[in-house]
């Protein structure tokens, strides 16, 4: 192929294909260098990423790396596919950190994952057997030294009878050599382990009490900080009947609920993860505990998001317009000051605002000479969270409106002025439509953000105030804080149910975003 430096100016007939090719694929020295560099970079990253996967034999990971590398080479090592070259980095990042987590959340929603249902069935059986360990007459005894390795707790055990030293973790027991014994037959040091001091050990005493080192037919547990014993498991799993028996009872495996259930209906606390189909999604709608207040929370949530967007946009736009005047002085100083709330760390300022609303020594009550319990009654609490969010959010709108104002070509205003439009008409017919066009996508994403503004509610009111007869739903609760409390509240973590609820929240936001976009002119640009 001939190298055509100025393809579009070349007038050789019949070389159209060559032209377009040369245009996107210049044969210049820089072009070649860039291509070689890209190839080297892609291959280099792929090799670096593959090395640990090969050594650990992770075939899924290798397949993902191979596909990603293949797509990158497909896009960058050809003159065509220009859009793909520009889109690929964004696509990779979105797939890895947005799309995949969303899909994963959806799959979690179809399981009973949560406290007591975190692992596989065999992990549950190990947990049941080790936690049922009891001490019996004649149990083997050890001298215990508590140590740690990579932050994980380890029992260094000396057996005086057998003159052997072991290291026990929650994964099991193994013999170690080269341990030095101190007075009383306890291990004082062992290579690769850090022995905890008495103070460190007592700080982690809850962990130490909970640690059971599984061994055949039982487990080793601590008794105080210097002794350990090997106990026998009271409960044992039998593969033949797929059940756990002991203490004169039998718990049969229930594959639908993912736990062992006895005839009287009681179940062992340790279960495993099973698919539950659509029952989590159904529970979100039919469980009276969850759906009773759904409508009320939803209406307030909707109002909150709309009000925050409207208030912040109105104030931000107004401030930007006030400063947008050729004869205005001190604009830079005003801008810097107005944008300050946005520069302040939001989470910290939310906590500061909460304290400013405090009844007894809050700044607002002291300045106004009032004694109002701002966050204590539904109306004032709602007003307060809106005010806080207006303060936090309007500088953002101000910034964007300022930027958008500067992109409006001056000719438009001059033309309107020549045509005899009044200042109000110029604003109403020229400035505002152009501003809204630029702001529309941000209004929609601001809505989506505030619809799920967890920090904005949780750090200020925690969802409260709560009516005295119902501690589960507060006056300022958004769907997300309400869901959060239901799922992670008193009953312990229920990730499956939480995932189902977040899917509902997401669907609502996505649908509203799409409707919002369809109604704005911004959507026309898509086509």
């Amino acid at each position: 192929m001939t190298i055509t430096r100025n393809p579009a100016r070349s007038d050789r007939a019949g070389a159209g294909a060559a032209h377009s090719r040369a245009r996107t694929w210049p044969g210049s020295a820089t072009g070649v260098a860039v291509r070689v560099l890209a190839l080297g970079l892609i291959v280099g990253i792929a090799l670096w990423a593959a090395a640990p996967l090969v050594s650990s034999g992770d075939w899924t990971g290798m397949a993902i790396t191979a596909v990603a590398t293949g797509i990158a080479l497909w896009a960058y090592l050809t003159p065509r596919r220009l859009p793909a070259k520009y889109l690929l980095p964004t696509t990779f990042l979105l797939v890895a950190f947005q799309v995949f987590p969303v899909l994963y959340t959806m799959s979690l929603a179809l399981t009973n994952t949560g406290d007591g249902h975190l692992g596989t069935k065999s992990e549950a059986i190990t947990a049941i057997e080790t936690s049922s360990v009891r001490r019996e007459a004649g149990s083997a005894e050890f001298r215990l030294t508590v140590a740690e390795k990579d932050g994980a707790l380890v029992f260094l055990l000396a057996d005086p009878a057998k003159r052997a030293a072991y290291a026990g973790t929650e994964d099991g027991l193994r013999e170690i050599g080269g341990a030095s014994l101190g007075p009383g037959g306890r291990i004082t040091a062992a290579e690769g382990y850090t022995v905890l001091t008495a103070a460190q050990a007592s700080a982690r005493s809850a962990e130490i009490t909970a640690l059971a080192v599984p061994v055949k037919g039982g487990a080793i547990r601590s008794q105080g900080l210097t002794r350990a014993y090997q106990g026998r498991a009271a409960l044992a799993y039998k593969a033949g009947c797929d059940c756990v028996s002991g203490d004169g009872k039998i718990w049969r495996s229930d594959e639908e609920q993912g736990r062992f259930v006895a005839e009287d209906g009681s179940a062992l606390p340790q279960g495993w993860k099973v698919g539950v189909g659509l029952s989590n999604l159904g529970a979100a709608l039919t469980n009276p505990k969850i759906n009773a207040h759904f409508a009320g929370v939803f209406v307030w949530n909707l109002f909150y998001a709309i009000a925050v967007v409207a208030l912040t946009a109105a104030l931000g736009l107004a401030a930007a317009l006030v400063l947008h005047h050729p004869r205005m002085r001190g604009v830079r100083a005003y801008r810097t000051l107005i944008v300050l709330p946005y520069a302040m760390p939001a989470f910290a300022m939310l906590l500061v605002w909460r304290d400013m609303f405090n009844t007894d020594f809050g700044l607002i009550n002291r300045m106004l000479g009032l004694h109002t319990d701002w966050l204590g009654t539904p109306f004032t609490a709602r007003l307060s969270v809106l005010l806080v969010q207006l303060w936090l959010g309007f500088p953002y709108m101000f910034l964007v409106a300022t930027g958008a104002l500067q992109t409006i070509p001056r000719e438009y205003m001059e033309a309107a002025e020549v045509d005899g439009a009044s200042p109000w008409q110029r604003f109403r017919k020229v400035t505002l439509p152009l501003l809204l066009l630029a702001l529309a996508p941000l209004l929609v994403s601001s809505f989506a953000f505030n619809f799920n503004n967890f920090n904005g509610i949780f750090l200020v009111t925690s969802g409260g105030p709560f009516p005295s007869d119902n501690p589960t739903v507060g006056a300022t609760d958004l769907l997300i804080t309400y869901t959060f409390r239901l799922a992670f509240g008193q009953q312990g973590a229920q990730y499956g149910l939480a995932a189902a609820m977040s899917i509902y929240v997401y669907l609502i936001v996505a649908v509203i975003s799409i409707i919002g976009f369809r109604r704005t002119r911004a959507f026309k640009e898509v086509t």
């Binding site: 964004t90 979105l94 890895a96 000051l337 107005i338 302040m344 400013m356 070509p409 640009e525």
Partner: protein, 277 residues
Amino acid sequence: MRTIVWRHAAAVLVTAFAVLPIVFVVSAALNPIGTLSSATLVPRGAGLGNLLRLFEETHFWTWYRNSVVVAGLTAALAVAVSALAAYAFSRFRFAGRRAGLVSLLVIQAFPQFLAIVPLYVIFSAISDNWPVFGLNSVWGVVLLYIGGQVGVNTWLIKGFFDSIPKELDDAMMIDGCTHTQAFLRVVLPLAAPVLAISGLLVFIATINEFLIASVFLTGDDARTLAVGLFGLLADQRNANFGMFAVGTLLTAIPTVLVFQFLQRYIVHGLTAGAVKG
């Protein structure tokens, strides 16, 4: 002249609303007693006791360095990546363009922290293979934050690119430039205002992010300001308020500097007059 006075009055009012809570934080930071219950709007005294306590009793410098690195890298990379995608959406017509734009919009509506459990699982797997980008590593969090930011920023930047006359890149290409050259030499410089604003928004969003950082960065060396400062108030709310206020103010400094640095790119009228007729 009257309109100018009126404009100044309104600007002062808005500025007062914006600044008053910050004045309260400043006086709480200077307050020699250093407790919440003794803080006032106008400081009754001034001392650096809270500042000294903050540096002596906490790992404040480490938190600070981590936050600036994370927010700075995230802002720069997210804007760069988003600008590339925005250019493709703005200038090329290709199969799946409309679908791509709509899915961007739908995908970015999902708040990342809702998927905290899946994200933790993903990063545990990454930790096993590539600890550089795993849990307790600021680099991994940077990647995660970029992933959460590109959707909305692509839309924002694309909107601006659409307002830059296509005739400008056409003229470049008639003169023999490639698409890449037109992008780098015409579109990007003209889009400096929106790139500056996007960068600033990402920087602020990242330096304020708390929930994900509090789960992913728990090691002493990996904590960011948000995680570290929150910990200050966790158990000693009243006594540590002065330190907390100092930390809040110091956290704001990088953001203000970035804004001051970027403000000169937010100049107006660059495209005015580029296309005659």
